[in-house]
Amino acid sequence: MTTYRDAIRTALQTLLREDPRVFFMGEDVGRYGGPYAVSKGLLEEFGEDRVRDTPLCESTFVGAGIGAAIGGMRPIVEVMTVNFSLLALDQVVNNAAVMRHMSGGQFEVPLVVRMATGGGKQIAAQHSHSLENWYAHVPGIKVLAPATVQDAHDMLIAALEDPDPVVIFEHQMLYGVDGPLDTDATPPSPWKAAIRRPGTDVTVIAYGGSVPKALTAAEELEKEGVSAEVIDLRSLRPLDRDAIIGSVSRTHRAVLIDEAWKTGSLASEISAILAEDAFYELDAPIARVCTLEVPIPYAKHLEEAAIPQVDRIVEAAKRTVSGG
């Protein structure tokens, strides 16, 4: 068994060893070993040229990553958390996403940006957001959300191979999670959703840190005679429409889990996809389980109440199935 954190480190090591164009930079990724201890030991192995501690200037070091990618390097940039990434949003949205298009295809940006996301550790309103939807909104970039140890490894490698800018969201509650890792297996396409648990009565769609919660909910639902199918979106842009529509066309019911605020969330987007392309498959109204419309509170009981939990998922699924 390997932890999610170690799986990412293994992938970083592989990439740094195999391709001299690859380098890794971000705040405290070197000496400190990474704010989530992902990159511990990498500075020692690869040196300061390829594992770079940056000043606290998200916009400029992400922009420098874009410039280096255009200039022929394969940078992997770590932004400590999604909330800090807002300071670099200009570079991602106004430069990385548009460079290929604006130059008529002359310049591409093979950049990987990694960041932690999500709540659950009582780190309050400025450090607990899920803003994956902000990035998934933008054409020109791709967005991945690994939910398993295997995906944490495979997706980083796939993202670096991709010629387009890819943003990877790692849920901070997952870093310590254990799971099997096979570094020799041929990984599935990172751009396709996965059925984590097949079922017949209701489709539960989740991504990132919500996937384990959806799986636990499915186990509880089974005890009550409800067979839930759990879909892990994996890629948030592009969204795997076929997988979403395919599953709901089998179960005719959909519960969408999203740790973002409900308004304008990816859950909203998936609802719209189902209303557009699976309307005649729906046997019950779509249900969304999202974060309540408040800044994430510090107090534990309030934080737990704010973000999606297993009981809310179970309740939503039961309501959808029974109509009650």
């Binding site: 005719h252 309307f279 005649y280 498959e281 729906l282 046997d283 019950a284 109204p285 109509g323 009650g324």
Partner: protein
């Protein structure tokens, strides 16, 4: 009026900085224009002499309007420049240019001009709220006079129309059913009115439909029953929707029958003409000058038909009724029309009509003379807008040159759609029909 910014659609000519007769060169400021952003100087891109100022100070004009004419100053060039102005303005303001699209036409350098026009989207101006209210109250916005700015229709306008018109249409009782359940109900032939919903608010879900009894398939309708149903639908619609009016005229058929006897004397039995074909042709020829009756009703207006295809009502054994069309009934020889009519009636009775014949009639002729009735008051076949009915031709007292004599007389009735024509027009049509039947040799 030059484009002075990406968002500019019009500008006010605040001040002319040049006068007629002034010589200007490239880059000179010739005017000041007031825009949303403030006063902006307008430069000229050509050298020449100002020959005419086209827009007075203080006037607001759209981008693309020529502001001035600049020529060589000799006067002889003025005409050419003016022509160029006209050409350029015409060329640069095509109605179909999309608001943000590229402007394809080039602009001669000798004028200050360029631009696109505002696109008229058509239809009544009304806000979404007004449209929704109109829909709820079953008010057609096309007929509403707007009292708001620029004729915009307001909520009060809609309410006013709704109050003065008939009682509002009751909202239908919609069945609450999931989209998936509705789909499988249709697929399985389940009548959802019979299904009890167990979902929220009694909504029918797929499981409710799957547990429901499938409707027993009823005996398939016979062709005659199907036809009768179709007639019922068409006639009900005609009676409900079309404001009919009727005009009648008695026609002396003496000349027509005499001419027929004479003509038929030299023809073989199979080639002989019947009086019905004379009436058929006369109706068609009369329509040539009364085009309002030869039309179809399409949604909200009558669309005139270029060609005249008279439909002939044919009663079928077993009770059915069809009215197939004889295409271009006003053209060709009478004997040819006779042959086509005989063939059509035979095929109608044999059930071998072509679908085009069933749908292409532009007016219908129904004749019940054989049954001895004196007159017919027919109902229009939608979407046609007129129908002609003929009673029996029978000897009746008729005044000729002040003397009462017995003449063969036929009662002709025109039933027509009052939305399209009126009684006066209908009467003139019948007079024309009468005159045509008095000169059968010309038919």
């Amino acid at each position: 009026m030059p484009s002075l910014g990406a968002d500019m659609t019009a500008g006010t000519l605040a001040k002319w900085c040049v006068a007629v007769g002034d010589t200007v060169s490239q880059g000179d400021i010739i005017a000041e224009v007031e825009t949303d952003k403030g006063l902006i100087e307008v430069e000229v891109f050509d050298a020449g002499v100002v020959e005419k100022l086209l827009v007075p100070e203080g006037e607001k004009v759209p981008v693309g309007t020529a502001l001035a004419e600049i020529g060589t100053g000799t006067g002889s060039a003025t005409a050419a420049v003016t022509a160029a102005v006209t050409a350029a303005v015409t060329a640069t303001v095509p109605a179909t240019v999309p608001a943000a699209g590229p402007v394809p036409a080039s602009v001669p350098g000798s004028i200050i001009s360029a631009g696109a026009s505002e696109v008229d989207l058509g239809g009544p101006m009304a806000s979404p709220a007004v449209r929704r209210r109109a829909h709820e109250l079953d008010v057609a916005l096309d007929g509403v006079r707007g009292s708001g700015d620029h004729g915009r229709i307001t909520l009060d306008d809609v309410r006013g129309v709704a109050e003065t018109s008939a009682a509002p249409v009751a909202l239908s009782d919609r069945v609450r059913i999931s989209p998936y359940a509705r789909r499988i109900a249709i697929g399985r032939g389940v009548d959802i009115a019979e299904v009890r919903g167990t979902g929220p608010g009694g909504a029918i879900q797929a499981s409710d439909v799957l547990g429901a009894k499938v409707q027993a398939p009823s005996r398939p309708a016979t062709p005659a029953e199907r036809m009768q149903r179709a007639i019922a639908v068409a006639m009900t619609r005609a009676n409900d929707e079309i404001p009919h009016y009727y005009v009648e005229q008695s026609v002396d058929m003496g000349n027509a029958l005499a001419w027929l006897r004479e003509t038929n004397a030299s023809l073989s039995v199979s080639e002989r003409l019947v009086s019905g074909v004379l009436v058929l042709r006369a109706v068609a020829r009369a329509l040539r000058k009364h085009k309002k009756l030869n039309a179809t009703w399409q949604g909200a207006e009558a669309v005139p038909c270029e060609e005249i295809h008279v439909g002939l009502a044919v009663s079928l054994r077993g009770g059915g009724l069809v009215a197939p069309a004889l295409r271009n009934t006003d053209e060709g020889s009478l004997s040819e029309l006779m042959a086509r009519m005989t063939d059509l009636v035979a095929r109608a009775r044999a059930g071998t009509l072509r679908s085009s014949e069933m749908t292409s009639a532009t007016i219908t002729l129904t004749s019940l003379g054989e049954r001895g009735v004196e007159s017919v008051t027919p109902i229009i076949f939608p979407p046609q807008v007129a129908i002609v009915g003929c009673g029996a031709t029978a000897e009746r007292p008729w005044v000729v040159d002040g003397q009462v004599v017995a003449r063969p007389v036929m009662r002709v009735t025109l039933g027509a759609d009052h939305r399209v024509s009126n009684g006066h027009q209908g009467a003139r049509f019948l007079s024309a029909l009468d005159r045509l039947l008095q000169e059968p040799e010309k038919l």
